[in-house]
Symmetry: C2
Subunit: 405 residues, 2 copies
Amino acid sequence: MMEQQSALTRVPGFRAVGVTCGLKTSGQPDLALIWAEHPCTAAAVFTTNAFKAAPVLYDRALLERTSTLRAVVINAGNANAVTGDQGLRDAEQMARWAESACGLPPDSAFVMSTGVIGHQMPMDNVEQGIRAAGKALFTDAGAQGEQAVQAIMTTDLVPKESFRQVDIDGQTISIGAMAKGSGMIHPHMGTMLAVIVTDAAFAADALKIALQQTVSRTFNRVTVDGDTSTNDTVVILASGTAGNISIGKGSPRFDAFVTAVTEVCTDLAKAIARDGEGATKLVEITVTGAATDIEAEQAAKTVATSPLVKTALFGNDPNWGRILAAIGRGGVQINLAGVLLKLGDFQLVASGEPLPFDAAAVSRWLAERAEVRVGVDLGVGQAQATVWTCDFSYKYVEINAEYHT
Amino acid sequence: MMEQQSALTRVPGFRAVGVTCGLKTSGQPDLALIWAEHPCTAAAVFTTNAFKAAPVLYDRALLERTSTLRAVVINAGNANAVTGDQGLRDAEQMARWAESACGLPPDSAFVMSTGVIGHQMPMDNVEQGIRAAGKALFTDAGAQGEQAVQAIMTTDLVPKESFRQVDIDGQTISIGAMAKGSGMIHPHMGTMLAVIVTDAAFAADALKIALQQTVSRTFNRVTVDGDTSTNDTVVILASGTAGNISIGKGSPRFDAFVTAVTEVCTDLAKAIARDGEGATKLVEITVTGAATDIEAEQAAKTVATSPLVKTALFGNDPNWGRILAAIGRGGVQINLAGVLLKLGDFQLVASGEPLPFDAAAVSRWLAERAEVRVGVDLGVGQAQATVWTCDFSYKYVEINAEYHT
């Protein structure tokens, strides 16, 4: 039975539902409500886009007033972004309705939205959806939570969830998370939307740092199209019911938790890249031998956002020249005579010069892969970073040329 | 008769030819040779890509030895990039052959290459091509120069040339230029290849500054795919035969020349964007109201490289939300309550909030346009910048997925 539950509801003390309230034209579930049995220490990271959506502005202010949450309400179909003062009032109203539906006091609920930009929220639908979700929460559906992850999908083809357990102080800590995202993916602080819940006990400041460390190496290292959304948000709720000693900064238990939650978020980050709009391949780009971590990430992201590299991979073309050209424009320190480049296990460049290889064989190998690893060593230092992206296909153009506002 | 000449050979004292020597599999002309009757003051700007092609390294060293040139040899079909020491020797050999073919001493010829990366130059073909070009230079073909611009094209669908005359000190100064470029276009110092010739007399230091000023506002403001090439080079040759007083820095004649050569290079920059791989529309993005010129350019380039904006324009979708989302991630100062956005003459956003508009009518208008202007005012300061790009179509993916190394 456990296997059929959602990743969120596998964490003791959390319930989640998804309902349909007419925000998606497809008639699919479009509103999710997550509820915690106990008050949770919470932390979040948000988009750095200057045009922050109304729920992002609401949540940021909320977490300045409190670091304890009991619920998260999320809608798809409308981003509530570039919607002015009315949008802000609507985000706040969604929080009030969610709190009321769960029998909670004000400032207990976090709000997230995703969908089209620049349209006012159809608040009648939202109100009806939140009421229905509140009722469903305390049924079997709320215990299973399968519809919640469906409700946050937009152009996503597959739901994205991950679950891990880790032993801390002899207690089993559970971590469950879900995310959505397929286009406008180049997060800088969070990727579109993700919710992480855990039963670990946590000091608020330590939870914030744990989340920041995790996001910087997972969601902030995935890109589909280089476009950062107005709504990117990742939130973590820690209920403390696992019975562990509260996790503070700089302890072995902090490191153990960060390792586990990083695994969870890496699963989701890779799932987002694999489900990138129009993607046929997950592409994992690892840059080693960089002068600094920042340069390693910058070089890997330059490759990951190169349309020429991404179309070559779609065409199963082992075009290492485009990969090096991208590395070369990335503004990082390179030892030209020490550069190595690998595609999977094929070494294509060594000591900065091309090696002979069977292009047809590598092309056939590429054609058979759903996941491709690209490795570049800059020959300078010891720093490294891995970034995930996808290839760039006709379908990406179709999705984004034919999706009208 | 003048109208049939190439832009380069309309400048008195310059000859140009293109020949076929088997570097392009298409059998089209693939090697160009340009010759100046008189020694020319020369300046050039080059790619900032760390992987600079061999001819870029050769030319950069050449212009440290001399600022006087008499010839330019250019091949398409092979970029001579990431080709190691052999590539450097080949670039130098091309210069020697070109000088010999034109009866010039060493260090008179500039070398440019474009095409695939990572393959050694087929030097037998190149030698034969340069010899044939040398012979053709002093025939009618050399005087007309029509084949030269054909010879530097790769995925370009149309040749790109521009010609202007400007009166300086009562003398008519002619400026002719040609360029190539369609993919891997996001220049930072030059765009792929451009050659500008003029009969103006120029001080060497002033010519360098004039070229830098011009390139920063023309070729450095065009992008097709965000990918900066390994071979970007722009060179200018000034023969001084027009009889004007030698143009020095900071004079009215310097400004007059820069204005004229900026017009010429703007023509070519727009032609490159219009002929971007798979493009159906030229897109001109003007950001006004920025805090600084650099921020205006940065914001405009962020829009110009957004795959979501570019696919929306291909789909004739007036998706201003994607444009604002790109502006918002651009890292520039924005007065959110003062933002304006226009698509052509349609005002879609004012005071940071969406205006009602007839989306179907704007979409029909977009569908009829070969050129689209996007205007965004950031509401902060007085600075502005214009950047040129193109839309992003199925054809772009086809060209780059099916073009194999």
